[in-house]
Amino acid sequence: MGTTASQLGKDLLSEYQELTFLTKQEILLAHKRFSELLSKEDRNLTSVPMEKVLSLPELKSNPFRKRICHVFSTSDMKDGSLTFEDFLDLLSAFSDSATLEIKSHYAFRIFDFDDDGTLDGGDLEKLVNCLTGETEDTRLTPEEMRQLISNILEESDIDKDGTVNLSEFQHVISRSPDFVSSFKIVL
């Protein structure tokens, strides 16, 4: 692919270093992988369509891959395509040094399947289905699902409005010691 350092200006590189949680090597590697995704297309395109992003080996089998693309995409067409800066945002939120706050914020947005700002019953059901897998024999029965959702709401909905908002979500997350280490994607 040639020397990528020359394609990413030094000023831009240090700016990215300041604004994200990524190190210089990680940014350069991200640039390299992003350019590879663009390589077969027209060079003038600045954003990569969602299907190409989903072909990355780190995201390929992740059940949340589509949600991740939608959350980090800043395109007006809401089609999940990512620019390079969106890609850096993604890697920064999933990096080793990102704070718990950032991670829980983005985790909340990823789990909010209908984008309404809270996790209601439908969101929770889709979340559990993503966790338990695609095949029929690993999914929960409807009875178990109903009980699970009502238990989750009982445990985490403090103001009893039937949904889990961001603060309640962050409160639940803060009780788990290994959330930070499991919410990581490294290229």
Partner: protein, 766 residues
Amino acid sequence: MEVLTTEGRDRLASHMSDVREQADERSEESMQTNLLVRNRWSAATLRVLSSMPSRSVGQQSRLEIISQCNIRSTQLRRYHRQTQDVSLSSRPSIRGYGIEADSEDVCEEETKRQELVNNLQSLSAGDRVRMLRATPLSLAEKTKLRKRVFSDKVGQSLLSSQVPCCSLLKRALYHILFGCLFIVSSLQLWQVALKRLGGRFGTGVLSYFLFIRTLLLFNVFLFLINGLFLVLPQAIHPPLHTPSSHRVTGLELFTGTGYLSNSVMFYGYYTNSTINTSCRPDEATAGTGCSTTSDPHMMAYNIPLAYFFTICITFFITGIVLVYSMSKSFGRSFRVFKSQGNLAIKVFCSWDFKVSKKMSVRLQSENITTQLKELLSEVKGGEEEKGRLSGMAVHLLAWSISLGSTFFCALGIHCFAKHMHLRRLEDVEGEVSLVHEARLLALPGVVSCGNLLLPGLFNLVSWMENFNSPIVRLYVSIFRNLLLKVSILGVLCYHWLGKIAAEPQQHGLQCWESFVGQELYRFLLVDFIFTVLYTVFGEFIWKLFSQGVLRRRRKPVFDIARNVLELIYGQTLTWLGVLFTPLLPAVQILKLLLLFHMKKSSLLVNCQASRKPWRASQMSTLFISLLCFPSFLGATVSVTYTIWTIKPSSGCGPFRNLPFMFHSGKQWAQELKSTNPKLAWLNWVHGCLVENPFFLFLMAGVFLMVIYVQTQILDGQRKIISLLQDQIENEGKDKKFLITRLQAVHEKRQYPLSPSSRPQPQGSEV
């Protein structure tokens, strides 16, 4: 639904809510929790709901994020005591009235942004960078903000030149630390195998294997310390012994006698003098080591002192590590804010995003499904569990059978041990032959048989009893097994320390410590052999039998309690034996390594996951506390008893001429006092700590007071948390009330003459 106009939607919504009203009047509880569910409300209400500050999280509500950032940057400023003006009215709930006009939003966003820029400018450079980084805005937004912040300052030169050296240093240190942590975590032993096992069999079985890993680490620590300070110096400067002729038969490896008894493995080999590092072997005189005429630059290594202190220090450090990990486990399982369960945490936090292979993702899904089912069944089981008076008689019978069998087993072992010693006395007088050596293995064999068969009996007995929840069954089973092991070990310790050590001549022993060390070595080995046999014959053949002959489709289930207690038993033997056999931890390490792989293969081939999954969440806490309390404490007590009250044998070992073992430390302290008066305070400290009990009472009193204060603090925190929870609930009720009022007012305005208009808002709490 998009085709309908706002009016049409409202009419439909009101009609639908009419129909629902009748149903809802019958089920008030569901109303309480679902009052803000979407499809009951009008469009205006929905707009209000969707722009509520607690729900504005997404990309389109930058304003909320910027307000939060403002709050935080102001707090940071106040903390650093910079400018005192507080110019933020960023309490979110007041903002709610501005929903109609979007242009107002944009203006407000602009003002907020300007405020944020001002705030950021007044922070220090490091804080600014950290603040910007931690804001959950998109990179494009952050770049714009940053440009505005820096546009007032001296331009682009800030970017590269003004990086102070201390922040570079900090960053470098940070990277080094991360590198070390990364190396340590990548050295995680058996990570892949553990993940595979956990995925297939659930957390209960996984905790057994994690426990093996923990024990391995303890033994590696023991082995390293002992090896470095005891074995190595003695091995490099071997004492002169009269070479005894022993026939080398393979049995020595199992019995520890023969040429092994005069090796660095056992207590008897160690000298009781100081080794000087520059002396040559031919200068040594028998039994006293090197000559003591020394020149001051030579290093003197006092073996008895080293022995005493090494053992004490390893026990001390192991004790501290155990207590620390036990308290950490307790801290994790019992929280101040004790919620009803772990389901929400499991659902939100358990997905590991690092996993990328398709097979591993599938395994992870399986794992999570199993855990969720476990948790759900426990919750359900907890709800159905009621006390039952019937079956009391069965329980009594079961307990009497278990306790009785334990007692008889202990008695039997006691008698057999006495008998074996008498036989051994006869053997010692006669010729040493292979059969006599093999007889040494009889007692360990009998004990291991008892250890194997009695838990099977306990299983049968508990199958007869009908327990409501699997957790109770597990605890009862663990308790019974524990009682068995404790009584067996108690009888054996009484034998060794009470009988043999007290009168070694009566048992025909010159070096009773080596003998006890050899006994422990034999016990460990025979225990391992029996475990191997049981795994091969018990699990494998039973599986063939049950599938072939009994034609059962299910494979047997892994018995966690029994296996864990066997591990603890083995570790107790190791700790008991460290004083007499410094290399015993090495044997235990080998044993654990082989055990891990054997059990893993046996599990994958012979067993299956339990069909009725139950939660094993506090298993690690239980295992560590079992390791700490009966096991480690018992070993410490017997080692302390040995060091304090038993006279060492006069013919062998590093403590040969001392009345008690701890006198080596005492002598050294007194020597220090006489040679180096400045260090006399050490002797005083030693006297205070060891001989004066008042000091210990004082320490215990201070300790108890600290615990009491901590419990009071925890209590207070709990009270505050419940008060705050009540307050949040009340706020939630206020919110519901206002929303329903809003809906009622809107409907009244919309349908003033319609018969379905309701003058009263439904479901409102007044």
